[in-house]
């Protein structure tokens, strides 16, 4: 029961942003095709998605690895910061999910369009 709640909350965090990323990826790809060639659009859009995904993944793992230490440093240096490891981890998971969504959408839709052409 507890495990299912744990999993649900994580799926909700990543899943929502993943779907948003997929939507943005599809819209961006179709919109880009109005002005550029398929390969140019897929390359640039996939790279943007990869940048967001990589940044999110790096931020997430960085938060898990160093988050508590950074909290301690903030406390000791008397920095009035609301930054917490948990909030950073959740935010970065959303960012990574969003980037992953764009990458996934570009890969699937790009391949589909390529096979049609």
């Amino acid at each position: 029961m507890a495990e299912s709640t744990w999993l649900k909350s994580r799926v909700r965090i990543v899943g929502g942003s993943l779907l948003a990323g997929v939507a943005i990826g599809v819209v961006g790809l179709l919109g880009g095709l109005l002005h550029y060639e398929l390969q140019t659009v897929t390359t640039k859009l996939f790279a943007v998605g990869a940048l967001v995904f990589g940044f999110g993944l790096l931020g997430w793992s960085g938060s898990v690895l160093l988050g508590r230490s950074i909290e301690t440093v903030h406390r000791h240096l008397d920095r009035e910061s609301d930054w917490t490891e948990a909030s950073s981890r959740r935010a970065m998971a959303r960012v990574a999910g969003f980037g992953g969504g764009i990458m996934g959408a570009v890969t699937v839709v790009g391949q589909a369009i390529e096979s049609l052409i």
Binding site: F46, G49, A50, L58, V64, L65
Partner: protein, 348 residues
Amino acid sequence: MASKWFVVKRLLLLIPVLIGISTVVFAILHLGGNDPAAVMAGQGASQEQIETIRTELGFDDPIWVQYTRFLSDVSQFDFGESYVLKPGQPVWDSILVDKLPVTIELAIYGQLFGVLLGVPLGVLSAIKQNSLTDHITRIGALAGISVPIFWSGPLLIILFANILGMLPASSRIDTQYFIEGPWVFMGNELPLTGLMTIDTLLLGNIDAFFSAVEHLLLPAAVMGIYSMALISRMMRSSMLEVVRQDYIRTARAKGQGQKITMLKHGLKNAFIPVITVIGIQFGTMLGGAVLTETVFGFSGLGVILVNAIQAGDYPVVQAAVLVFAMLFTLVNLTVDITYSYLDPRIQQ
């Protein structure tokens, strides 16, 4: 000591860190306007030659194919071949293996400088709170945090090399010394480490060792100033927090002397947040290495990275950034393990 599971968990976390870094590097290089095939072909190349290179290296494959191939190669430590700096040569064997020890040595000595000065200054400042010593140390720490490397480097060169003539301003060792391996240990020939101070000792050349240390003093000081300032500030704040704890009061009430109480009970506990700063600072050190190496004429990973970016040598850029990231994460893993040794509650 850190439990096995704790270490394994930390090691597993390195995987997403490295995937994240690789992905960011891959994305940035593909978002840039340069065409790697055109860079490789050179200025006078025809469009046909560029297209041939593009096909041979797979640059005309769909980007998701290139991405998975890139991740697969990186996971096997295959960083490809250099396009421009050493055309056709493997990046790891012909470039990084030589340059990495230069940067590591610089970062280690910079960090040593920061720790060896920062910790005693922080403790002194805390013990003599609100005294003249404390004020001077705090002003010094503030100045150290505020001074950028590109300013402190030339300034120290002017003072110690040009005006006082005490220390050399560039290179890793005097030109009269020639350090070349292998070194012999118990009849076996072993390769040198590439760390000049260690290699001179391994070869038993004490004069060369002192020359290498002399050449490292200024760059290490430049790299360590910021670290020293931050560590001393952190140490002071941490010590002040620790000295107010009940266990310190109890030790004093039982008749233990102030110095022993501070060293035995205070220092170890005050070190916990400082260890964190040392780990995080290592990343700043590596970033600072780019500037320090340039200012002091060291041919390390930082200089290679800048040259590779300017030349558009993508495999070298990718490899150098990944190596920097790996170093940073490994240092932080060590810090985590030390942290859990100092405070076993961390493991839970």
